[in-house]
Symmetry: C2
Subunit: 422 residues, 2 copies
C-alpha cells in the first residue's frame, strides 16, 4: 500500500471524472483527495475526500502529483504552492500555460519537479512528448493545426448540412461540443493558447500571446463555405506558427489563428467534426501529422493519465526526473504583426452589378501590386447586386487591407469576407 | 571534451549517412567509429575511423551507444556483444527485432541498457515512444497502418497514371523507392516485421512472425484499382493487428498484412506515395493517427537521432535509464489463422458470358452463407468473357475460399482477384 503513487485532483468536471475513471484501473495509483468548486454537485464518480479549497491539495504532504483539470488562471496560486511543496504537476490548463507558463516552468525547475501538459494541446493526441523525445533532433520551420474541436465541428456541419453559423452553434451547444458562452472557442482564443504552447516547445522560444493575431469563425457564412467548396477548398480555423528567416535571425515568428481556405487534397482539409490535427514541418523529419480527438472526457484523460504514468515510471529512481520534459526557452521570440504577413486571399465581394465592376477590382488590385489568380461573378440578385469571388496570389496583408479600403470608398463595392488561403 | 556522448555506427548506407549528417549538428555528440561492409565504397560522409568488423564497435570501451543501421539478422551477434558490454543500442533493424526482439530485450534488461528502435517502424513518424509514454494508460483494440512506402508508392502510381504493377515497380526502382530485388517490400515482409513490432508493444504480447498471414501487392492489377475507385475505394497494402475478444481471453490476436479496399473517406485511403500512416484504436484515447515519411535518409535519421538524444538526456543521471523504454512482454499472443478471420470481400471475377452466370455466383455464395452486398457485370469482351465484380458482407475466410473453389470447379468462372475490404 505504501508504494502507491498519491494523486490530488483539482477540478472534477468532465475531464476530471474521466481521469478518475481511467486511473481506477491502476492498482498502484491512489486518488487521495479532490478539490471542486461546488461540493454538492452531482458527479459520475465518487471521491471520499472532497474539498472546496485547492490549497488543501497543494499543501497535503501525502500527495506526490497534483492533477489540475479545473482550467482558468485563478488556479495559479494553488499550483505555485504545490510546486513549492515539491509536487509534480499534470495539467490540461492551456490558458494558464499560455499566459504564465514561462514563470511556472522556471519555478518547477528550481524545485526539481516537472509540469507535464500533454492534455493541454489537442486533447488525446500525443504531441508534446513526441516533440520533446522522438523529434528532438529536429529544427522546425512551422507547426500548423486544427486545434479547436468546437469550431471544426461547426464548420463541418455548416458545410455538410448547408446551415448558418448560428444554427450550427446551437446544434453544437445541444450536443455539448460548445459551451453556453462559446466566445473562448468561436473567437479563436482556445486555439490561440494552444498554438502559443506549441510554438514555445517547437521553436524553443517564449511567446507573448498579446502579439498573436486571432480571428474566429463568427463571420464565416454558409455561402463562403459553398463557394470555397466549388473552388476546391474547405474553410478551417487554422492555428499556425512559422519561423520567418530574415536578417540572419532565427527567432522571428509569425504566429496567428484565423479561418483559412485549405485545398481539399491537403490533409488538414479532411479533418472533420471535433477531430484535431497537428502538422509539423522540419529538418530532418520533413512533414509529420498527428490526428485524433481534440477534447472529450476519455481522450483528454488518456493524455493526463499518460503524463502521470510517465512520472510514475521514473519517480522512484532518482531525484532529477524526466529531464526531457523540463521546459527551457528563456528567450522571447520576435513576433511579427498580421499586417506584415504575406498571404493568398479569397475575397467574397458584393457589388452593384454594372459594367466594368470587375475591371474596377482589377485596377485596385494592380495599384497595390496584388495579382489576381482567379475571379468569377456568381450571378446577380433581383435588386442588382452581384457576388464576385476573387482569389489572389501572395501579397502583404497591409496591401490587401489598403486595397479593400480603396475598393469600398465609393460604396459600390463591399468585401463581405476576406479569408486567407493556406 | 570528455563529456561528449560517444557513438559507434554499424552501417553507412543511406540512413547511416543521414544519421552522421544530423548528429554533426550536435557539439556534444561524437561519432568515434563506423563499421561498414565495403571499406572502399564512396560515401556522402567522411568518418575517420572506419572498420569492416562490427565487433570493433561492439567491443570498443570508448563507445556509449551503438547505432545499428546495417539491417539484416546477421548483425545480431555483434549487437549481443555490444549489449553484454553495457552499451545502449539504437537500431532501425525491423527484421532483427521482429525475429529476435524478445531475446534481445531480455538481454538488454539483464545488462541494464536499453534498445530503442523508433526508426524501425514508420521511419520518421514518432510511434514507438508515444505508445510507451503519452498513450501508456490505454488498452488498445487494434493497430493498423500503411507501413511500407515502396508498395504505397507503387499503388498510388498505378492509380494516378493507370499503369501496370510492373511499370510502376520499374519507376519506383529508378527513383530509388524500390530495391533491385523488391521482394521484401512487394511481398509484404517489410510491413510484416513492422506490424509484429507494433503488435508487441501495443498489446504487450510476444508475436511469432511465422504465424502472421502475409500477402503482397504483386497480383493487384490496374483494372482492380480502377474498379475499386469506381466503387468508392482505394487499394492499399494494410498491416494490422486486432485483439479478438473470445472465450474471456485478452491475448488472442489477428495479425496480418495484405492488400485491402479502403473506403475513400477513411483517412488511410488518402495516404499517398511513400507516406506511411499508423492508426491506433483504444480506450480511453479512442482513435489517433500518425502520418509522415516512412523512409528516406533524413526522416529515418530523425528517429535515430531522437532515440540517441533521449538516451543522452538521461544517461548521466542514474544507472537505471529510461524505464518507460524497456520492453516487457513475456507472454506469447495466441495468433489466429487467416482462415479463421472474418472479412468483407471484393471479388474480381472473369466468367463465360452466358445467362444465369450471376445467379450461379449468387447460389454458390448462399450455399456457404455468404451475403452479397453488391454485384455488377462490367461488360463482355469479344471472345465472350464477362468481368463481374462482387462485394460481400462479412464472412469467414475459409467459407470464402471454399465458395471460390466450388465456383471455379466448372472452369466457367475464374476469380482473378480476391481482396479484403477494410
Amino acid at each position: 500500500m505504501e508504494n502507491k503513487l498519491k494523486i490530488g485532483i483539482i477540478g472534477l468536471g468532465t475531464v476530471g471524472c474521466g481521469v478518475v475513471k481511467v486511473l481506477s484501473q491502476f492498482n498502484d495509483i491512489e486518488i487521495v483527495k479532490a478539490a471542486v468548486k461546488n461540493l454538492s454537485k452531482k458527479r459520475s464518480v465518487k471521491i471520499d475526500n472532497l474539498t472546496d479549497d485547492p490549497f488543501q491539495i497543494a499543501n497535503d504532504p501525502d500527495i506526490d502529483i497534483v492533477v489540475e483539470v479545473a482550467g482558468g488562471v485563478e488556479i495559479m496560486d494553488a499550483l505555485i504552492a504545490a510546486i513549492k511543496n515539491k509536487k509534480h504537476i499534470v495539467t490540461a490548463n492551456k490558458e494558464l500555460l499560455a499566459r504564465h507558463g514561462a514563470m511556472l516552468f522556471d519555478l518547477a525547475r528550481e524545485n526539481n519537479v516537472v509540469i507535464l501538459y500533454e492534455a493541454a494541446v489537442a486533447g488525446g493526441i500525443p504531441i508534446i512528448f513526441p516533440i520533446k523525445t522522438s523529434l528532438l533532433a529536429n529544427t522546425f520551420n512551422s507547426v500548423a493545426g486544427i486545434l479547436n474541436g468546437t469550431t471544426n465541428y461547426i464548420l463541418t456541419k455548416m458545410e455538410e448540412d448547408n446551415l448558418s453559423y448560428n444554427e450550427c452553434l446551437i446544434k453544437a451547444q445541444k450536443l455539448g461540443y460548445a459551451e453556453t458562452d462559446p466566445t473562448g472557442d468561436v473567437e479563436g482564443y482556445d486555439a490561440m493558447y494552444k498554438i502559443a504552447i506549441l510554438a514555445n516547445i517547437v521553436f524553443n522560444l517564449r511567446v507573448d500571446i498579446s502579439k498573436i493575431y486571432c480571428e474566429g469563425i463568427t463571420k464565416i457564412t454558409a455561402e463562403d463555405i459553398k463557394i470555397a467548396d466549388e473552388l476546391g477548398y474547405k474553410i478551417k480555423l487554422i492555428a499556425q506558427a512559422k519561423r520567418i528567416n530574415k536578417a540572419n535571425r532565427d527567432d522571428i515568428l509569425d504566429i496567428r489563428v484565423h479561418p483559412m481556405l485549405v485545398s481539399k487534397n491537403k490533409p488538414l482539409a479532411n479533418t472533420k467534426d471535433a477531430t484535431n490535427a497537428v502538422l509539423l514541418n522540419g529538418f530532418p523529419v520533413d512533414r509529420v501529422m498527428f490526428v485524433g480527438p481534440g477534447a472529450g472526457e476519455f481522450p483528454t484523460a488518456s493524455s493526463v493519465a499518460g503524463d502521470i504514468l510517465s512520472i510514475k515510471s521514473e519517480i522512484s529512481q532518482r531525484t532529477n526526473i524526466l529531464p526531457m520534459a523540463v521546459c527551457h526557452h528563456n528567450e522571447y521570440a520576435i513576433q511579427i504583426k498580421i499586417e506584415d504577413t504575406i498571404n493568398c486571399y479569397f475575397l467574397h465581394i458584393e457589388a452593384k452589378s454594372e459594367p466594368g465592376i470587375i475591371g474596377k477590382i482589377g485596377c485596385a488590385c494592380a495599384q497595390f501590386g496584388i495579382n489576381i489568380s482567379y475571379v468569377i461573378q456568381k450571378g446577380t440578385t433581383e435588386d442588382g447586386r452581384a457576388t464576385i469571388i476573387v482569389l489572389t496570389e501572395e501579397c502583404f496583408e497591409k496591401d490587401m487591407n489598403a486595397m479593400i479600403e480603396k475598393l469600398e470608398l465609393e460604396n459600390l463595392i463591399k468585401v463581405k469576407n476576406k479569408i486567407r488561403v493556406m
